[in-house]
Symmetry: D2
Subunit: 339 residues, 4 copies
């Protein structure tokens, strides 16, 4: 069956951190996400418009990285069909019992080794009375703490082979590829792809990992939807010692308003200040950027993406990359001094 | 067959105007939409990110109103299936040869009498070289004229019976109802419904027509996606004599950033300054607002919606309503004096 | 001596509140102002860019209102000269020993009875190390709590006779009147005046008190300088039960981006989302608005100012006005439920 | 006499351009400034809130650069006193008959050789009826063309000796130095100074010219006051071929929201998206940044200032610098193709 309408959206993610105190300070004090549960070495967090129990699980580990990504299907039947398809593709890892707020899931790996799962049964979030918003489509009041993003938005994965990764998601899970970057002079290699299962410009991006590593995370993104909030977030990061990598500016690719920072655990986090391009056309044609003519793709304004980090650093970092990121210690110090 | 994934989005609309000069001044000089063609009594216009030949056709007539709404299906087959379903529902009006940039369409009427059509074959817009944007997902450069919206966004229709109208669009065309307003004290009558065929908070709204008229337009909306642009648009309307009805503010319903104005032909136009709530959940439950507790639904800030116009004026206006709108003559005068 | 360059700016204000818990919740939890001291029945607060020890003193009292306004002179000599001038005008009330962070002041009353003082000796604020900002013109880091305004901006006073009040401030203290509203049809009575001692569009406004009361406060304003922050503030007020009176919108008068809310003690507070018009011309001519043609003066967008509160309610309220304001109890409830 | 209150503000500037067609396209088509007069090789332009006849005069020449800067005094007497003071300082160049809209002026040179003048008699701009705004403090309606800035804001001059330049403006003309950058490790040399004659964070900046040239222009700035407008301007520059150097971002110095672009004649133009810090304190102390710890001074977000242009390129360019700027030919091409 055509997988085109089988997946609904990115529902949750799990990040690993070697600096739980700093990472929690970042997500709860600076970004104002609310803690909903703790279990074992993990803390469960949510943005105020996330629809389910949580959108982010943070787990203590030796190194930063992505431990899981949960995609919600459009129906219970679609989950069964996609599990079969993943098994046929040799990527299935079997059914799980789920997690807090998450029912039975089907675990799989991307071709590059990123751990993921499909899910249908989720716990819809119902706020306690004092956190219920009079804005009825909002699952909870906007927090008074920090500069809170509204929901989990998208993920960007590094991959040793962009094309292989992209084609699996197209063919097996029904993703549409909205934009891609090709090294025309270098023989046509795909360097990046931006994909989604709905009208968002991207819910998942794939970028070539020039270090030759496999299965790494480039960044996880949270959504403000309001351009000014990216400026506000940059200001807070600057004042509270969180390392800013690039932005605020707007990528030509996806027209997404970006701000990249490193949370104190070392993972790159994007804050997303608009909705980017919304691809309403059902038969859009993939847009192709040539790597040799890529300035506007990177930024509409004057921003640059630092070559020493943006195109090589991912989590877990490869040997030698840890020193690129200063936020880790600064974040910890901040967490200690700001009551 | 379940109609859930059969329609893709709102593709085009046709407005009638008794003041073609004023209406064109509004859309092209003030809003900066580009004219792409003229034929007979009609002028075809487009926003700079609209994907097809045009999104708005303006046609001279004795009174303002809505002459047509075009919905694009997700495939050629879906068009055939939905045409059958509309015929079975007694609403089909037969196949047409289309229009400039629009292929064969299937015409139908809403239960309340609004003229609409379904289409698959459309002409994708390709800008001439000097208007091509380096932002590759953008179909043409942002104009230097006026304050240009990016694309057609949604329509709001008045209906003599909201529930009948809503149920047809749900059952026959696969719309999802995201939010509704119910007069609980008055016996549970539905007063309004906000619906879409994708993750947008609404592509079509239906509001009760308290004058007892049928088939009228409440407003057509164009998208900025940037909150500041609604403020800028209000300022230009204020300075150039375009009547502002309400806003800028944000509705609690849909979380949409609104500005309502009357174009010089008398049609209410909304400018839309954010993306509103995006409903990613595949099994969202319709949110119900009680008419008796509706303040936040109307506006998150302090805006009010004028009772003498907002809840009764539509196009074509009923007898006596023309005097509510002053933009018509002002717009013409402005068009005459601003070189 | 010409008083033109004798006053520098509005330095501090003291508000009275019958609901200290609610008022403090509003200023510290919702607006994120920092508490710097407590003494007797008073709490001293500051915005993160206020230059001195505090800009706002909140004091428990039976009714809301304004207890003091402090204007800083441009020099020590100017203070002496203006004290003499006020004594000659019969408005001086003698020297005081000052307050926390405030040295010797010269107390006086406006012609309408508003308590004020002039000051030269003030304590410049020096943040503790953990609150020092790397933005060196910023006296302390932007707080992570609430939606913090940057500094005290201006005051709006109700007066039984606008002209008398205005002329004293022009002649004795060197204020310039940037704009005024005159009831031309009603014989030319001045209804309002907007004045400053620098290039700000206003640091003090005077509006006619139609209740015949004397010495009341219309509102005290705090500055964001960023339009989006007024929208954010409206959203927080809506969600946390703070009564919004009007806005966000932009007054034609002063071009100031306004949001009016009632803090839980009953005082009207304005949040100011831009810098308004800056009057750089040294010989600007006062702009006069006619009350009969005043729409744009009130708002550039579609906002209205509620007749039942905006033009009659001030603090302390006159008999019967308390019921207009609901924030008082709501604010208290919110303070109780939001940990 | 203490010169502290003798100057009011920057009133007008004259730019030279070797590409009049491109420069006019930039200022009138892209930025939407209005032409008010032509005379000889010069075109006179104004922003919609500029108070006088014009704020910018553009004159054809062999190379780009600054031909004149006009400072308005606070009174006729102040003009005479400052002319005397400049003569005593050996910088006076005598009285002129003025220009279109400008009465008698006193010409002088900065110590580094920048041509300037002082003026009291100016023609206040009165818009023709069709351009009069209902916003009475606004001298003319906001144009419908391009993305119009509101007024001339400030100038940034390169100088061979920052300290000499700064001290003359402090001592002879009453400027206050709000912020400066010092190369502490390099012996304390002043690298930059930001100065004003009112509460603006700067109306004139001085930066060291590392090429050893004298009397060059770094940039002239125009004011939006709204952060989003800098993002909009960057987008238009990107699409219409105007070279962006840096931004949008916010300098830590002055807290000014910047966007630097090169107009097609080769002059660097800054668009200014907020009001920056307003220095209300009459006895503020100059803030000193150390060149060795300057990151936040450059940008609060992640922007960088390109070393190959920002710190060395000025107008007129020194030998070899012309190739750094591509806007010149692009701008001309754009002017030719965009009707």
């Amino acid at each position: 069956m055509n997988p085109r309408f089988e997946l609904a959206h990115l529902a949750h993610a799990e990040l690993l951190t070697p600096n739980m105190e700093g990472t929690l300070w970042f997500f709860t004090e600076l970004l104002g996400m609310r803690e909903v549960a703790r279990q074992g070495d993990s803390v469960y967090l949510r943005c105020y418009e996330d629809p389910y129990h949580h959108s982010l699980k943070v787990t203590a580990a030796d190194a930063p990285g992505l431990a899981n990504l949960g995609w919600r299907t459009t129906s219970a039947d679609a989950l069964e069909r996609r599990a079969d398809a993943l098994d046929r593709a040799g990527l299935g890892r079997g059914w799980t019992k789920g997690d807090l707020g998450v029912g039975r899931t089907f675990a799989f790996e991307s071709p590059d080794g990123h751990p993921m799962e499909l899910v249908w049964d989720v716990e819809k979030y119902l706020a306690p009375p004092e956190l219920r918003s009079p804005i009825l489509t909002r699952r909870s009041k906007r927090p008074l703490q920090g500069l809170p993003p509204r929901r989990l938005d998208h993920v960007n994965l590094m991959a040793s082979d962009v094309t292989v990764q992209k084609e699996m998601f197209e063919q097996t899970l029904g993703f549409g590829t909205r934009e891609r970057v090709v090294d025309v002079a270098g023989g046509g290699t795909e360097i990046g792809a931006w994909m989604s299962v709905n009208i968002l410009g991207h819910e998942m991006a794939i970028m070539a990992d020039s270090t030759g590593s496999r299965g790494r995370l480039h960044h996880l993104a949270f959504w403000y939807g309001v351009p000014q909030h990216n400026t506000d977030a940059a200001e807070l990061c600057r004042e509270y010692g969180v390392q800013i990598e690039a932005g605020p500016d707007i990528h030509g690719i996806t027209q997404g308003a970006f701000l990249y920072v490193f949370e104190p655990g070392g993972n790159r986090i994007e804050l997303f200040g608009n909705s980017g391009i919304l691809e309403l056309e059902p038969d859009f044609e993939t847009v192709t950027w040539d790597l040799a003519d890529f300035d506007t793709g990177i930024a509409i304004g004057g921003a640059t993406l630092p070559a020493e980090t943006y195109f090589v650093y991912g989590t877990p970092p490869v040997a030698g990359q840890e020193s690129l990121i200063t936020a880790s210690e600064i974040g910890t110090r901040v967490a200690a001094t700001v009551a």
